[in-house]
């Protein structure tokens, strides 16, 4: 074994690469990268340039891993929600009654199940649904947070923004219906958007509540107690609204898209 074969790429880069890959991928793909580093890059470019090449490759892996990151973000968001709820219950005992805590736990488990098992789409159609759901979820969640903040600050525009947040799931469902010709696609986009927006809303509410609670002079020091309820309400019941609205939107989108089509147009499956 000559010098090049025992030369090592930067340890931190190798470790970083392993964090953004599954265990099996880390074994085989880091092996490929190490082999390339030793058999061709290092002999041709020298140590410094080869190390830079390796770091650049790892950056590329991390950039591409953002697709997988969707699942990780969702799981991280759900885990943070669970921690926030537990901390809030400890700080404000009795904030969640026994049955409410059980319902929240079931809701979180359903979201976690979806995030773990359905965020790596097996078909192009599922990929479109997931992508649309994530994008609309980001929009809906941001609109809810902004709308509530503005409304609670007495800004009239907040009501209009809340109305938009309420209506965007209809648009999301219609978009999916027109694109994929299935009402079920609208419903699924509604589900994903409710998950993503629910996480944004919940964390937005809780952050707002805790910031207010810890600023001296604010009269309502137990604000997180209220925001916890509001956040959870929007996270789950608001999510149900998104699913229903998106399903209706999906049907409406398909009916709209069918308008003007030839009677000879092949019949399509709507569900």
């Amino acid at each position: 074994m000559d010098g090049h074969e025992i030369a090592r790429p930067p340890r931190w880069a190798d470790a970083l690469l392993r964090t953004c890959l599954s265990a099996e991928e880390a074994e085989t793909q880091s092996g490929d990268l190490l082999e390339a580093y030793r058999d061709s890059i290092l002999p041709r470019r020298g140590r410094l340039s080869a190390d830079l090449w390796f770091a650049r490759q790892v950056a590329g892996y991390m950039w591409r891993a953002r697709g997988m990151g969707r699942r990780n973000w969702m799981l991280a968001g759900l885990a943070l929600s669970a921690v926030t709820i537990v901390v809030s219950v400890l700080v404000y005992p009795g904030v969640l009654a026994g049955s409410a805590a059980a319902k929240v736990a079931v809701g979180l488990l359903i979201y976690a199940y979806a995030a773990v098992f359905h965020t790596r789409p097996a078909t192009p159609e599922a990929a479109v649904i997931l992508s649309l759901g994530s994008k609309y979820g980001l929009s809906i969640g941001s609109l809810w947070v902004l709308g509530v903040l503005l409304t609670s600050s007495g800004v009239g525009l907040g009501v209009a923004i809340l109305l938009c947040a309420f209506l965007v799931p209809l648009v999301a469902g219609a978009h999916a219906g027109i694109k994929l010709w299935r009402v079920g696609a609208g419903m699924l986009v509604g589900f994903w958007s409710s998950l993503v927006s629910g996480l944004i809303v919940f964390h937005g509410f809780m952050a707002y509540g805790y910031v207010l609670a810890f600023i001296s002079g604010i009269p309502d020091a137990e604000f997180p107690r209220k925001t916890l309820g509001g956040g959870l309400f929007l996270m789950f019941l608001g999510g149900a609204d998104a699913v229903i609205a998106a399903t209706i939107g999906g049907l409406a989108g398909i009916l709209l898209a069918r308008t003007g089509r030839s009677p000879k147009e092949p019949r399509r499956v709507l569900w």
Partner: protein, 126 residues
């Protein structure tokens, strides 16, 4: 519940191979039994005559395997890679069919046009 892929040519999109995917599949064909990540990376770089990111190769391999165009198996590592396992790839019949279709499509769209294009001047009015 019936799941049918119907709109926006999604079914056809799944079958269409991009140039990079073709390069990766053809590298697997050329390398035969020795088609694993590092070898495929080297082969694709040589054929495309440019530097290619290893991550792009692995992402493409994963996508092609997901489409059922290739299949992989884990093999033993070697000292140069510190004994880390290799993943070997093999073309599936669907992959061969997709490559044939891609080749036929290129031939069809070039039919009647002399290659390489030389001195082409825009003759339309502006």
């Amino acid at each position: 519940m019936t799941f049918v892929c119907t709109a926006y040519n999604i079914g056809e999109m799944a079958e269409t191979l991009g140039t990079f995917e073709q390069a990766v599949l053809l590298a697997i064909v050329r390398l035969g039994e020795d088609a694993y990540g590092r070898g495929i990376l080297r082969e694709v770089q040589e054929r495309l005559e440019r530097d290619v990111a290893a991550g792009a190769i692995h992402a493409t391999l994963e996508r092609l395997e997901g489409k059922g165009l290739i299949r992989s198996r884990i093999g033993l590592g070697t000292p140069i890679r510190d004994g880390r396992a290799k993943r070997f790839y093999r073309l599936e019949p669907a992959g061969a069919a997709a490559l044939n279709d891609a080749r036929a499509a290129v031939k069809n769209i070039w039919r009647g046009i002399r290659y390489p294009l030389k001195g082409f001047v825009w003759m339309g009015t502006r």
